[in-house]
Every structure is written in C-alpha cells, then in structure tokens.
Point group: none
Chain length 214, copies 4
C-alpha cells in the first residue's frame, strides 16, 4: 500500500510493463504479421504470462489501439519538426515525404506493424481500424500534431498560395499516402529495400504532380 501512484493513475511498474509489452507486440506484428501475433505469443516474447497482457490491456482490441497510438506518437518527433521547418507548401510536402521515409527507415518495425494492422486488423464487429477511429473521433476532430501529419493540410495550403494546381485534395492525399505505404510494403518483402531512394523518387513524382503545367 505504498503511495506509488504516479500522475495519470499509473505506477512506474505499470508504465514499464505496458511499454515492454507494446514493444514486443510491435516487433512480433512486424515479423510475423498481425494474424499470427496472438496474445500468447506476445506474452511469451515479453517473458510474462498471457494473462498479464490482458491485465494491462483488457482486450486485444485495446492493445491494438495502444500499439497504433504508440507508433503514431513515435513518428511525431521525426516528422512534425521537419515539416514545420519549411515555409512553402511544396517545401512542406517534400519534408513530409522525406521525414516519413526517414521514419520508415529508422523505425522499420513500427512502420511494418502499422501497415500490418492497417491492412489486416478487424474488430469483432468487422470494422477496420480507420472505421473504428472515425467513429471515436467523430465529435472530437484531430488537432495540432495530428492535423500537421495529414497531407490534406499541406495540399490546401499550397492551393491557397497558388503553389499547387487545382486538384481534388482528398484524391491527392489518398495517392500520396498509398505511395508512401508502398515503401513499407517493399521493405517488408525485402529488408534491404532502398527506402530513402524510393522516397526521393516520390518527392519528384508529387512535386511534378502537384504543380502541373505552367
């Protein structure tokens, strides 16, 4: 009954365990794929009992949500400053692609796990991750960092300043996000895939694609 309750209602031990489990889960999902990443195997990798995982994350669904958040938060310090340092929309776009590529390159497991979850995860009711998130964030739209990490913002800026041609922003966003995910996909097939090189090509592609003919 020591007074070891930390702010946020979590003890030091609890935070450590959660971090450890999340780390192992990310590794396992990246290596074996989401469907093969059972709670039992995650626990085994973490060296704890299976029930411990469910003690901290009462449901597999909640564990996945935590994973996603963890991965997203890991990308913020890499991407947000890089984008913010640029002033022009095309500068921000280049920074977005390059810093995302850098994140994929330096955090391969994080990126692989995210893609696995993104493509394979379904809730008990059959919903995909984005559908679940869309529901929970319907009333509370993303702000701050989350907004900064949405290419939409950049494309809208560029169209406002006249740097970019008139294109449907959400379509360009889809194309860009998918193209970047391609880096993760190739990296998952071939650990030696040249992610920075691929992203440099993406910079060229979307530079040309957003500016259009003079």
């Amino acid at each position: 009954m020591r007074t070891n309750d930390e702010p946020g209602g979590q003890t030091f031990t609890e935070r450590a365990r959660r971090t450890q489990i999340v780390g192992c889960a990310i590794e396992l999902v990246a290596e074996a794929g989401y469907p093969a990443a059972s709670i039992g195997k995650i626990a085994e990798r973490a060296g704890v009992a299976k029930s411990v995982v469910l003690y901290y994350f009462s449901t597999k669904e909640k564990l996945v949500h935590t994973l996603v958040m963890e991965i997203f938060l890991a990308s913020v310090p890499v991407m947000v400053p890089a984008i913010a340092a640029e002033e022009t929309a095309s500068g921000k776009l280049r920074a977005y692609i390059r810093s995302n590529g850098e994140f994929i390159h330096t955090h391969r497991d994080h990126a692989l796990a995210m893609l696995e979850i993104w493509t394979s995860y379904r809730s008990a009711t059959g919903q995909r991750l984005d559908e679940e998130m869309a529901e929970s964030t319907a009333r509370q739209p993303p702000q701050g960092d989350l907004a900064a990490l949405d290419p939409t913002t950049i494309f809208e800026l560029g169209q406002r300043t006249g740097e970019f041609r008139a294109f449907p922003v959400h379509h360009m966003t889809t194309a860009l996000r998918q193209a970047i995910d391609g880096a993760v996909l190739q990296s998952s097939r071939d650990a030696g895939f040249d992610v920075p090189g691929y992203c440099e090509e993406l910079v060229t592609i979307f530079d040309l694609a957003t500016k259009g003919e003079p």
Copy 2:
C-alpha cells in the same frame, strides 16, 4: 450423358458448384475480410455443408489460389484490350489506369477480395501471396497477358521511345500500383467512392510525373 465429359473433365454440376462457391467466397472476403472468411462461413453463405467446400477445393490454400486466378482472369478482358488499343506509352499508361479503375468500379467485390488476399493472406509457412507466386513463376516467367498487365512494361517502353523521363521503373511501378490500390481501399470504406474520378486524377498525376521537365 453429356454432363460428364465436358472439357477440363468437369461435369456441369461441378463447374456450377465451383463457380457458386468461388462467388460466395469473393463476396465474403470482400465484405468481412480475408481472416474472417473461414471455410465454414463460405459454406454457410453458399448454403452447403462445410465439407462440400473442401470436396471441391481440397485445401483452403487451393481455394484462395482459385479465387486469385478467377479475379485476375476477370480483369484481363477489361484491361488488356484497352491497353493494347493504345500505341504510345503515355496512351497505354492512361489506358492502364482508366481500365483498372473501370474494373474496380464494375467488379468491386473482385477488387476488394483481391486486395484483402494480397495484404492479409499468408500460407501455412508464413509466405505471402506474391512470395508464393514468385516461387512458382521463377522458372516460367509471365508472358503475354500477364506481362501486359505489369506497368513495368509500359514504363520501359516510354523510356525507350523518349516519351518518359528517366526514373527508376520499379519505383514508379510501386507508386502507381499502390495509388490504384488506394481506389479499392477507399471504395471499401465508402461504397459510393468516385473510383473513375479518382482514377482520372491518377491519370493526371502520373502523366505529369512520368514526363517531368526536360
């Protein structure tokens, strides 16, 4: 007596059942995702016993292979003639994107199922679909139609004729394939997604991206 010696050694009943099961499987994979498309659920949807599915496709792996082949073959008459009708590389590229979009639009379930399998399927040994296919086609590389449906061919043609700038072909291929898959993804989230509109934008994007400044 005619039903028993059809070409391919398959009776009328057999072909009908196989078609029906494949159809139900495609629907279910498209709706619920690959991991949720168990043999039992496929059978239930088809209104037959689980063992009937395994009577026609002795293994789930074989069922998946059949699905993939079926979907691929459905795309051929839509895409191949459209691409072949164009002479220039940029014409072929536009036709590739537009006809692929048309296929996604008119064969939504096929496209969704293929994407699901592409991203979620793993063989018993953990191999992905493309890794399995890469193994089986190692000695017998694709020819004819299959080659025509690989954007690589188009990009190489364009670089030879000088229509396209010098870019790493495999990177451009990855970006294009991913961008097109984006149409499927969006369509799975929102059945009313404007696939042709999106693809028209892709036409512009890759037109600009492949030509570039001199």
Copy 3:
C-alpha cells in the same frame, strides 16, 4: 441384360473389381498402416471412385473382413500341404513354423496387412477382429483347413503321441503365434529382416520347449 451371372451370383467383372480393390487395400494397409488406409486412399490406389469401394463392400468393416479372409486363404496353399506332409507332431510343428515363415517371406504385404489389422482394427462398437470373429463363429466352429492352421491341433497331437511334454496347450499356442508375429513386426521395421533365419531359430526354440527334459 446378358446372362453373365456366374455361380455365386457374381459376374466376372464384379469378381475382378473385388480382387483388384482387395489387392490395393492389402498393399496400402501394409505400407501405411491400418489407420491411414482410408477408403478414399484405397480407391485412389485402385483407380476407381471412392463410392465404388463401398458399392462392392458396403462397409469398411466388411472390406476388412474380406481382406482378412483373402490373406488367410492365401496362406492355406503354402502352409496346409507342408504341415500335412509331416506325420509326427514335432514334424508338423517344424513345418508349421517354417511354412508360416515362408508365407511371411513371400507374401510380405499380406502378412504386414494382417498384423496391422490384427493389432489396430476395431469395429464401430470397439471390438477387435478376433472378438468379432469369435462371435460370428460361436455356433459354427472352424473346420478343415482352419483347424489345420491352428497350432493347438498340433500340440494336442504331440501330447497324445507322447512326443511333447505336458504343457497347457493354449499357452503354448499363444507363445508360438506371438513369436511368429514377431517376424512380421521385425519385417515391417526392416524390409531386409531375415525372416527364414528367425523362423529357423523359432523351430529350435519350440522344439526344445515342447519336448522338455528327457
């Protein structure tokens, strides 16, 4: 509607098919063991449809009974004359062991299949082969050849003539039958096992064991 009904109510074709299926079944049981010898695999080996097997032998149980009878009948021409040619009980015993060994040697599949069925087969109600047979032959005790192939007869003869010492006949029978089955067992583990050599040793063993001290 040709008048091809043979005596016994079986057509030529029918007998041929039955022989063929029984032969394949014996081979398969010998090779893969009884539990692995499913009707489907037997049919496959015979090159007929699974239902054909059940058309001729309406039940797997009946097929097994036929197999056993077939194997037994195959042993008769090898063993019975050899035993009958001897006059003394110890002569008949030697002939029994040697001819049984010869049968095992020349009909390895038959012997292996019999042993597999003997040790592994259970009817739907859990009964073993001998228990089933004991039931069906309760009222109709074996005669003629069957009696000749039961070592009991030989042992009783030897005790009557004074050639053999006084031992409990059924115990000696059990020991002998088991010892001979050992040849099959060893042969199943090692195809090159020296069955005749082993049986020659059995001849010595049971010669000594039945005569006892002078």
Copy 4:
C-alpha cells in the same frame, strides 16, 4: 505459497491435473484402443474441457510420450529389483519374465495401454513409437535401468557365462518380448486370463529354449 515452487517448476494443481489426465488417458487407451482415444474423449472422461488437456500437454504427441514414460516408470520398481536380485543369467531371465508378468497382472491398464500405443501409434510423419525413440536415443543410448529392462543384456550374460547355448540374441529377444506381449493381448480379450500361469509356462519355455542340448 508453497504450492507454486515445487521441484520441477510445477504447482500442486498442475501435477494433480497432469496425473489425472494421464490416468484417464491410460484407462481409455486400454479400454477403447489408441485410435479411439481422442483428446476429446480423454477430456470427457476426466471431466474437463478438451482444451484443458492441450493446456497441459500442448500436443497429442507429447501426451503420448508422457503416457509411455509414465507406464515405463511404473514398471521399473517392479522389475528392476527382481532382476537385480538374481545372480545367474537364467535366474535373471526367470525374474524378468515373472516380474514382467506381475507388472501386467497388477497394472493391467498400463500394460494394455502400452501395447496399444506400441502397435497402433504413428506420429504425424508415419513413424512408429520405437522408430521415434530410436531416433531420439541414437546418440544417447539407454543406461542403467533401461539397459536392465532389455532382455538382450541377460541373454548376452548367459552366453558369456556358458549358461545359455549359442543362439542369435536379437532373435531370442524378439521371441521373448512377443511371447510376453501375448499375456497382455490375452488379458485384453479376457480380463480373467491367468497371466501368472502363462508367464510360468513362459519361464519353462525359455528355460528349455535357452539351455538346449549340449
């Protein structure tokens, strides 16, 4: 707090359950035969869910190995001291047969289960129990108790001391093992079979058979 750190890292509950399951499995195999002893039926007999059996023995193969070990270990205290107490080879041989008979008599289910497994078990790859064991003990040959329980040792001793005549040891071993297994077989057919009486006859048989004429 004491239950959790027993020797072997097993809790009291775990050992109890394992013992219970192994006991039920031995009973069931003895009664219904190995093929009929499914995990589900073993669980049913133990009054637990099917998954509980797999919780303690992650694979049926492992359960079988445990069964075999359990049965073997149960025979050691009965047979080894009895054999060790004799000095001559023929004394050891008599003790071997009699103590084995005693074990079969007092541990009928154990003996039946062992014989069932011995004759019917096949691993996933089709290997029999002895073939599996031969593989695993190839580098680490059995010593001490295991060697004492192999009749080969006794026969070799007797030939060295001149008590036994010159016979091929492995053939005599096969015959003896098979003859003793006959006791189990008869006992399984008839619960009232006189195992000690049969073994006493075996003592006579192999006494005569190993000594022979000069």
